[in-house]
């Protein structure tokens, strides 16, 4: 899939209209995980609007975003930056053939505190 097509898909999956953004930066002004992000919430919106996804797919922010939705709550234009980040995250973690969980490695890492349900859901989501 070419990058443009991919950007279009991510845009669609996010369910938010990034063109509504007026570039005020309130999302990044509110973000509690800002310091941990290499690409900031407002930049996610901007890159997706331009159709540039390469940097986003490799961004550390995908895993530091808390999904707290403060950015969505505060956006004066009804854009949802967290949904964009989530859509990119899905694109990465659920890529076909990209198995993220291998059953044989589970016993090494397993821990009493991990609920069983989490393991089941992890397999469902991340093992293709």
């Amino acid at each position: 899939m070419d990058r443009k097509e991919q950007a279009k898909l991510i845009k669609e999956r996010s369910g938010t209209d990034v063109r509504k953004c007026m570039k005020c930066g309130k999302c990044s002004g509110r973000c509690p995980a800002y310091a941990e992000m290499d690409i900031k919430p407002h930049q996610f919106v901007s890159y997706i609007e331009k159709g540039e996804v390469e940097k986003l797919l490799e961004s550390k922010s995908l895993y530091t975003c808390l999904s707290c939705f403060a950015c969505v709550e505060r956006c004066p234009r009804g854009v949802a930056p967290a949904n964009v980040i989530e859509a990119v995250r899905q694109e990465v973690v659920r890529a076909q053939g990209g198995n993220k969980v291998q059953a044989e490695k589970i016993p090494e890492t397993i821990n009493e505190a991990i609920p069983q349900q989490l393991l089941v859901s992890m397999f469902r989501k991340f093992n293709k």
């Binding site: 570039k23 309130k26 990044s28 004066p76 234009r77």
Partner: protein, 663 residues
């Protein structure tokens, strides 16, 4: 036998590019009754009109159909053309083949077919047209201005200057509006009171102006030139004619815990008070919610102290009725409520204020006598942070989708004034865009940055919280790609402005149209910006859209010019397309009179012969043709089909529909 002429306009390529005008003319020529059918490039041009005039004269036409643009554009033109050729102007029908046909279709065959159908329907209607003559109505030479802010004041002064009487009806206790609360005005930094109060005094002294403060519009009846308005003069418990404004009552009043509205609630006032030193009229008013005498009958100190016996605890609201030829709506604005924006902490922290509150804090007549201190501890703030677009340009539903237009400039003003008066104060401004179109406006803003060193930060604030006695303002700095936190002593919010909420009620009373943001709609966004689509209603100031003072004053004067133009006429031509009732069908049920927005329908008892030499008296509807505006509400309500509209009769409309459906 009718002789109908059809004239199909090309409108350059506006129509001719999508509609085969020649074919339309050829097909319509075959319609029964049509004796001539022609096309022309611009029918509204001098030559086009000459073509119509000649055709009417040469062929002895009894009526014409012009297939052209919307009747809103050129119906009046073609009616005059017909009249100048000796034809009754109401024997002209317009088939709208531009807005309703060529502009909305792409396919030529489809558009041409539709244009033919529209032409046929106009011909069908024309066949049932009757020549009509319009009556005349007199014009009451007095104007009403609703709202006594700078917009209302300017409109009233200009109308009065032209020699007409004007009443200003203001809902609060003094005229002056929001402008009276401002400290300085951009871009010249002159004091608002210094330029406004002379105008207020002019109003009070002008013989043609009658100021009714603490009054509200109760009802509006009538139509352009002849409005009948009921005004509620609310009880202020002080005789306006006797009170000298000495202020002794204010000093003696023991109930001093009222929120001072003029100072945006930043300090208190007594129960009996004069809003501010230069109030017009300079007359006291009692707040009945707060006055001990009015609440529980104990006190009466002010009445004892008053030298002129102006206090009257028994005063009641009074309703007066007056007639006007024109009404100016100048109801102004208020800042929006900030309950949806708790991220800025307006309701939590005392030192988060709105810009209008800051105006009072900086004003020499304000709660701190012009010395800028924080509301919480009355200390001088050393770091002040401004937040722009609070609730403006907000489509999330929390605020307003429009730009409030004035905030960029007043914030630059505030920043500059603070840096000038307190040079050791740090000033930061969070902005999304700085919008400064206007004469000397961008220069003004740049002065704030270049000369006064105000720190403008491109980005929005995400939250304000308290830490170690400081207000921490956390926001984006998009240029440096950083999240910044500014420890501040005072935070100022540029709250969006919205139309005064009373405007909705007033718009309903005067049947003026209003948009989804409660701004009144102008008759034409570009060409008739100060008129409402409702004849005789004019728009002045922010009630029509966000505006600063220079713009408001220009619009107010433009509005006055329109009012004077109307009042200078002795008679107005009435609409000829008025309702009339078929007395043989009318059952006297009164439904039509109830729906008539103009009060044009009355009932009379009339004798009718019923055969055998006998008569019976029946109650039937009668339309005052001078009052009827031809809206047609009565015709659709009438259960017996007795009401009909001249020029738009039920028969004519059915004929049009038949012509459209016929294949």
């Amino acid at each position: 036998m009718q002789k109908i002429g059809v004239f199909v306009c090309w409108c350059g390529s506006n129509i001719a590019a999508t509609v085969d005008v020649k074919k339309v003319a050829d097909v319509l020529r075959l319609e029964p009754g049509v004796v001539i059918s022609e096309t022309y490039q611009y029918m509204c041009s001098e030559n086009g009109q000459a073509l119509i005039r000649n055709a009417i004269k040469e062929n002895g036409l009894t009526g014409i159909v012009v297939c052209s643009c919307s009747p809103r554009m050129h119906e009046a033109t073609f009616r005059k053309t017909a009249e100048s050729a000796g034809l009754n102007p109401y024997m002209v029908e317009i088939a709208n083949i531009r807005e309703q046909c060529s502009w909305i279709h792409k396919d030529m065959d489809e558009a041409t077919e539709k244009a033919i159908v529209l032409g046929r329907s106009a011909i069908a209607k024309l066949k049932l047209n009757a020549p009509l003559t319009s009556g005349e109505s007199a014009v009451v030479k007095r104007a009403l201005v609703i709202g006594g802010g700078i917009a209302g004041i300017q409109s009233a002064l200009d109308i009065a200057e032209a020699g007409y009487e004007v009443d200003i009806v203001e809902s609060s206790a003094t005229i002056g509006g929001n402008m009276a609360k401002l400290d300085k005005t951009f871009p010249t930094l002159d004091c608002a009171a210094c330029i406004l109060t002379p105008k207020m005094v002019d109003c009070a002294q002008n013989e043609n102006i009658d100021i009714m403060t603490f009054s509200e519009i109760e009802s509006v009846k009538g139509f352009v030139g002849n409005f009948k308005v009921q005004i509620r003069r609310k009880a202020r418990f002080v005789d306006e004619k006797k009170c000298t404004g000495c202020g002794v009552c204010m000093q003696k009043c023991p109930s001093k815990k009222g929120k001072n509205e003029f100072n945006m609630g930043l300090n208190n006032r007594p129960a009996i008070y004069i809003p501010f030193a230069q109030a017009i009229p300079n007359v006291a008013i009692i707040d009945p919610e707060q006055c001990l005498k009015l609440k529980n009958g104990k006190c009466g100190l002010c009445a004892m102290q008053c030298q002129v016996n102006a206090i009257d605890y028994t005063q009641k609201d009074e309703i007066i009725e007056r007639e006007y030829g024109a009404i100016v709506v100048a109801t102004g604005y208020k800042p929006i409520s900030l309950e949806n924006f708790n991220e800025y902490g307006y309701d939590t922290y005392k030192d988060v204020v709105t810009s209008l509150e800051l105006e009072r804090l900086m004003n020499a007549a304000g709660p701190s006598d012009g010395h800028l201190v924080r509301p919480s501890d009355h200390k001088e703030p050393k770091v002040i942070t401004f937040i722009q677009c609070v609730g403006s340009r907000d489509t999330s539903g929390c605020g307003k989708p429009y730009c409030s237009k004035i905030c960029c400039m007043y914030t630059a003003k505030h920043a500059m004034l603070i840096r000038e008066k307190y040079p050791d104060t740090e000033v930061h401004v969070f902005y999304i865009d700085v919008r400064t179109p206007g004469k000397n406006y961008d220069e003004f803003f740049r002065r704030a940055v270049e000369q006064y060193g105000v720190d403008y930060i491109k980005g929005m604030v995400g939250k304000v919280y308290e830490e170690n006695g400081k207000l921490m303002v956390q926001g984006s700095d998009l240029i440096n790609n950083e999240q910044v936190v500014i420890p501040s002593d005072l935070v100022v919010l540029a709250a969006a402005i919205e139309p005064n909420p009373s405007v909705r009620k007033i718009a309903t009373m005067v049947t003026a149209s209003i948009d989804t943001n409660n701004f009144l709609t102008e008759a034409h966004a570009k060409l008739r910006p100060v008129e409402s689509p409702t004849a005789g209603i004019f728009l002045s100031g922010v009630c029509q859209g966000p505006k600063d003072i220079p713009e408001t004053v220009s619009q107010a004067s433009a509005c006055a010019a329109k009012v004077v133009g109307l009042l200078s006429k002795d008679k107005l031509k009435c609409n000829a397309c008025v309702a009339h009732s078929d007395e043989t069908l009318c059952t006297g049920c009164s439904v039509c009179a109830n729906v008539c927005p103009y009060g044009a329908i009355t009932y009379v008892d009339k004798e009718f012969r019923i055969g055998g030499g006998k008569t019976e008296t029946r109650r039937v509807a009668s339309v005052n043709e001078a009052v009827c505006q031809g809206c047609g509400a009565c015709t659709v309500t009438c259960p017996s089909g007795a009401m009909d509209l001249k020029g738009f009769s039920n028969k004519q409309i059915m004929a049009e529909v038949d012509a459209i459906c016929k294949r």
